[in-house]
């Protein structure tokens, strides 16, 4: 009897591998390469304490006499430091690994904050509608009319002045996550609201109401899972944007302190030495940042094409 229904048995993994998305992924070399590069960077970042030869956060490890040593392939290098050292004598390779980890953490967490705020507000706005919708969407419009960087700079500069740079540096990661998260929620809210407006007219929502479910359950359990594809698509783009925002703020001196550099602050600290010939302090983290953001964006493009085939026509 159950022989007819054996196809309901395959595991979750097998189901996922046979899905359209996995198929299109296997057919798309750009997506595969991007994914590989992204995973490589991510794994290296996550395991940086194991991979890195030095701990760049430990002052005992750093000798100022080693400062500005060039990478291994340039004359005058020290074989200890494969990618050379920065202005404080830290091993650049180790510092980049740790910095990438910080950049990724800040990027992902900031997007989590954005997504949480944006999805909740978008769901409420779209589902409840009426006056609530108008108020929330005008708030989003106001928020969008300030550029992210402007909001972030003002906020970070004020907090830095208020608490002093020592306290600020200690909590810089959280500050960056909060400010980038709060500044970009309207992106999510608008997208989610638009999908909710389309979804809530569908009959399964009526039938959920007829079954006596409350509005919260209908929003979270019925409408939200049906609105996930645009959320996935903007999430990738937003992670890339958040990493760039973090780098920009750090570059401007409002982000991670030089003692705990992210990619942005590393680029920034090397910038002062670029004309004295120490190009690698800026260039190498710069390349890592560009590659990281590029692969995330390429993955986002691929995902958009898969989940939103309408975009291809035209």
């Amino acid at each position: 009897m159950s022989s007819l229904t054996t196809n309901s048995e395959p595991s979750r993994w097998a189901r996922m591998m046979s899905s359209n998305m996995a198929y299109s992924f296997r057919r798309n070399p750009v997506a595969m390469v991007s994914m590989a590069v992204f995973l490589l960077i991510a794994v290296a970042a996550v395991f940086s304490p194991l991979i890195a030869p030095f701990n760049p956060y430990d002052p005992a490890n750093i000798d100022i006499m080693n400062s500005e040593l060039p990478p291994a392939w340039v004359a005058g290098s020290d074989p200890q430091f494969a990618l050379g050292t920065d202005d404080q004598g830290r091993d650049l390779w180790s510092t980049i690994l740790y910095g990438t980890r910080l950049s990724l953490i800040i990027g992902l967490c900031a997007v989590a904050v954005q997504a949480f705020l944006g999805i909740s507000i978008g769901l409420i706005s779209g589902y409840v509608g009426g006056r609530v919708d108008s108020v929330l969407m005008r708030l989003a419009d106001i928020q969008l009319s300030f550029s992210t960087l402007m909001v972030a700079i003002i906020f970070l500069a004020v907090t830095q002045a208020m608490f002093g740079s020592e306290v600020f540096n200690q909590y810089a990661v959280f500050m960056l996550i909060a400010v980038i998260g709060i500044a970009e929620w309207p992106q999510y809210a608008r997208t989610v609201r638009a999908t909710v407006l389309a979804e809530k007219k569908k009959e399964y929502v009526d039938s959920a109401r007829v079954l006596g479910f409350g509005p919260l359950r209908i929003m979270v359990r019925h409408i939200l899972p049906n609105s996930l594809s645009p959320i996935f698509v903007i999430s990738t783009v937003q992670v890339a944007n958040a990493i760039i925002s973090e780098a920009s703020l750090s570059f401007l001196g409002l982000g991670m302190p030089p003692s705990q550099p992210s990619l942005g602050s590393l680029i920034s600290s090397g910038f002062d030495y670029i004309f004295s010939g120490s190009w690698w302090i800026t260039a190498i983290p710069g390349v890592v940042l560009v590659v990281l953001v590029l692969v995330i964006n390429l993955l986002g493009d691929w995902m958009r094409d898969v989940l939103n085939p309408k975009l291809y026509k035209g």
């Binding site: 159950s2 309901s8 399964y204 009526d206 039938s207 109401r209």
Partner: protein, 331 residues
């Protein structure tokens, strides 16, 4: 006490500069385990009636007046929280298109368990047991396997069976079925209707069947309401209405059935369209299309009165069939 008692139910829709009356003083009763058909053309207010029984009319519509007494409680006055304990639990609804009424991203099992847990204090295992039992009742083969399937993996007829199973999950007193077979294949339509009838009879569940198919109504229901332009124009036992319709509109509906036409002849359709609800003519709303209309019909709205075995809202029926006494009554 009857299960459901609707009195003078009036539903309006607030448009930009006026309000449109979609339901006009609907009154009817439904006994426990009784099956009632509501027929009429598109836009007559059948579905709105179904939705207002659940108090689910969404903006810009609203219940303007009237009472809906369900087991003695007035649905119209009830709070949202109280309504949710009735919806799905005491009163269930089945929609037209089974392809879109199930949530596409949840498995059948998740949807059934969720429904049970929303109304009863049950563990997942117990809820799944009940779900399997109900799926078996609607003749779903290998129900345990269905629980893990998504709606898109099932055929339309199968999905409608599952929807019926979900409607029956909490043993409701009343099921409102809004054209439950319109989107299905003809052969499956008959199966589904038979199933619905069987389940309603064996569980003594009341049924309100909203449809435009008089054939289905005659097989399924004990009493019938005929609606036109937001009003009930004829009500009574289904057999009387099908065999001996009194209102010219009902007569027209029955004459328009393909079975009533000789092969090779055109269908006898009712000329014209139902008036738009924003622009209902004065007097009897059917008068512009009615062959028997007289001046009185165009000026005075006929009241719904008992006539023979049925209740009917027509001036003319009394004049056609009867004497001066009936005429006096209508005036």
């Amino acid at each position: 006490m009857s299960l459901l008692s609707v009195r003078d139910l009036t539903v309006k829709f607030a448009m930009r500069d006026n309000t449109v009356t979609a339901l006009n003083q609907i009154s009817f009763d439904l006994g426990k385990g009784e099956r009632l058909g509501i027929v009429g053309e598109s836009g007559a207010g059948k579905s709105i009636t179904g939705f207002s029984l659940m108090n689910l009319i969404s903006k810009p519509g609203f219940i303007d007046n009237g009472k809906i007494l369900f087991e003695g409680q007035d649905i119209v006055q009830m709070s949202d929280a109280d309504l949710r304990t009735i919806r799905g639990n005491r009163m269930a609804m089945i929609f037209q298109d089974p392809m879109v009424t199930l949530n596409p991203v949840l498995t059948i099992g998740q949807q059934m368990v969720e429904t049970l847990q929303a109304h009863r204090d049950l563990t997942r295992q117990d809820a799944e047991k009940i779900a399997v039992m109900k799926l078996r009742e609607v003749y779903i083969p290998s129900p345990e396997d269905r629980l893990n399937q998504y709606p898109h993996e099932l055929s339309g007829g199968m999905r409608q069976r599952i929807i019926i199973a979900i409607a029956l999950l909490l043993d409701p007193q009343l099921i409102i079925a809004d054209e439950p077979t319109t989107a299905l294949d003809v052969t499956i339509q008959a199966d589904i209707m038979e199933l619905l009838l069987e389940l309603c009879q064996s569980n003594n569940v009341g049924l309100i069947l909203i449809t435009h198919d008089l054939g289905v109504v005659s097989q399924m229901t004990e009493r019938t309401l005929v609606m036109y332009a937001g009003r009930i124009i004829e009500a009574g036992r289904t057999r009387e209405i099908i065999n001996d319709p009194q209102h010219p509109y009902t007569q027209g509906l029955i004459n328009a059935l393909p079975q009533q036409t000789l092969p090779g002849h055109r269908l006898k359709q009712i000329p014209g369209n139902m008036p738009s609800l924003a622009n209902v003519p004065p007097g009897c709303p059917f008068s512009p299309r009615c062959d028997y209309a007289v001046d009185l019909c165009r000026t005075t709205l006929p009241k719904i009165v008992s006539y023979g075995q049925v209740e009917v809202a027509c001036h003319e029926v009394e004049r056609l069939h009867a004497d001066d006494a009936a005429q006096e009554q209508s005036a």
